[in-house]
Amino acid sequence: MSGTKDVKKVYGNTLQELMQENKDIVVVDIDLMRIAGSDDIKKIFPDCHVNAGIAEQNAVGIAAGFASMGKCAFVSTFCGFLGTRASDQCLDTVCYNELDVKLLGTYAGVSSGINGGTHISIADLAAFRAMPGMKIADISDGTEMALAIRAAVATDGPVYIRVPKGPLPDLFEEDYTFQWGKGTVLTLAPTSAAGKKAAIITSGITTASGKEAARMLQEEGIAVTHVHMASVKPIDEDLLHQIAGTHDVLITVDNHSVIGGLGAAVCESIAAKTPKPVIRLGVEDVFCEGMTEQELMARHGIDAQGICKAVKEAV
């Protein structure tokens, strides 16, 4: 559990395994094969591979064309170029037509780091969450990524898998399972804990921050609950209502704008039935600057220290 995984290898290897058995998978690249990890797919399965060049909109359309003929089409590029550049194609062509297109976004949010504000995706979750029929997985480690890719193939219709740049530290054991619409309680604060009770809700790279924050807080005698919510859509409504019902404050942590991301999804979910105060950590409606991933996480308060600070202020 102390290792890391290269997300490129996870994508390439998982697809290879799937494509050995499933002849209906095609892979569409957008001139970023070596970043996605699909370069071997082109060599091994040339008849199931398309490179659309630097043309995201056309790439999504071509994938839709394959899907309309019964194929399961994967498309990958940077998160922002799928979620916002090709947003209309994902909405009107893929989702409206209910096509089996799997969108894999790389370099999620601040993991794009020094590439700067034009490359740091802060609006992709907002766009994809609003698309009817779209399922979204915001993955945190290599094991979960492989499971999410398999879960994408196993479900009909559009899927968006949001992948950080990596390499990603291993967070989950081999027996971890990923399920659409299911969150995972990583730490549960004891019901006997004194004072106000806080629950941290994370996904993607913020789950590692959340785990570390929970550990640090524990050392200081502050018991918190930590929920990992990889399936951002559909979100685990039952678990959220349960957590909201048994905690005083929820702290969501987005590697995304606070508008439209995980925090927004949590608020929308609990507002009607189990309203509780929600503190949304994330990128505060600004563009990110060119800094390292760690520096950006600190600046936007989504690293372990930022989460600890927010919890202490809330309880």
């Binding site: 056309n58 359309g61 071509i62 839709a64 394959f66 003929m69 089409a73 009107d92 409206y96």
Partner: protein
């Protein structure tokens, strides 16, 4: 042969004018200009079966200019894909979408509407057919104004890269888009040269309402190897309705009672005509 096609086109046009009048508004101009292209495709060209509209190895058709949806529905109705009366009907309070919709009409292969996207889907379909060694051909109809969209040219590049000689796109070149003359809003010319420069074989049709010319273009297109083909068909926006022909303002709109009566006269429809 052409007489049947002409009668089918007239019947489709009559039902279109009747239905849009009954529904209150619609994309008259864009639907009327495409009728002969679609009539030829559905009556003579496409290997499709209205009794089995989802047959796997059928040819595929993509109306990339999705706003011509009612023109497509009306031609498909004449070919037996749906009852003529459905065009103007409401089902549970819902009319047919003005933009081509596969969810409502079996036989519509892909829903379209946001311009520029259909040709990419057609490229994916055609590449599938090539890779799977199917004899499926993929046909698309584009609007001329739609070719302002950059995605059309992305799709054009990819179609020639993959030598998609099973893909035939036609441009319904009626010369008008929403804000005016196509070549004033955003000049397309030299249009055929542009397609050729992108690696396509271009065939120009002087009268996109003449079935002999349309047929000749498609027959020639099928002889081309290793390249996708574009048929640039000069058409008349609002074709068949005297006060709509070549009028930008009739991209869409609503008719007055007098205009409805004039349109009925133009199309030889009796008062009280019904699908």
């Amino acid at each position: 042969m052409n007489r049947d096609l002409e009668q089918t086109a007239l019947a489709a046009r009559q039902n279109l004018f009747y239905s849009l009048g009954k529904l209150g508004s619609g994309h008259y101009g864009a639907c009327l200009s495409e009728i002969e292209l679609l009539t030829y495709l559905y009556c003579e060209e496409l290997r499709v079966d209205p009794a089995n509209p989802e047959k796997p190895d059928r040819d595929r058709f993509v109306l990339s200019k999705g706003h011509g949806g009612f023109g497509l529905y009306c031609v498909m109705a004449e070919c037996g894909f749906l009852p003529r009366k459905r065009i103007a009907a409401f089902e549970n309070g819902v009319m047919l979408p003005k933009h081509a919709d596969k969810h409502r009409i079996p036989g519509v292969d892909v829903s379209t509407g946001s311009l520029g996207q259909g040709l990419s889907v057609a490229v994916g379909m055609a590449l599938y057919a090539k890779r799977e060694q199917k004899t499926i051909r993929v046909y698309a109809v584009l609007g001329d104004g739609e070719c302002n969209e950059g995605q059309i040219w992305e799709a054009a590049m990819s179609a020639s890269k993959y030598r998609l000689d099973n893909l035939i796109a036609a441009v319904d070149y009626n010369g008008l888009q929403f804000d005016g003359d196509v070549n004033e809003v955003m000049p397309l010319e030299p249009f055929a040269d542009k397609w050729e420069a992108y690696g396509w074989h271009a065939i120009e049709v002087k009268d996109g309402h003449d079935f002999d010319q349309i047929r000749a273009a498609y027959q020639a297109a099928k002889e081309i190897r290793d390249k996708p083909v574009v048929i640039i068909a000069r058409t008349v926006k609002g074709k068949g309705i005297s006060f709509m022909e070549n009028e930008t303002t009739w991209h869409g709109g609503s008719c007055t009672k007098e205009q409805l009566q004039q349109g009925y006269r133009d199309l030889g429809m009796e008062e009280g005509w019904s699908a």
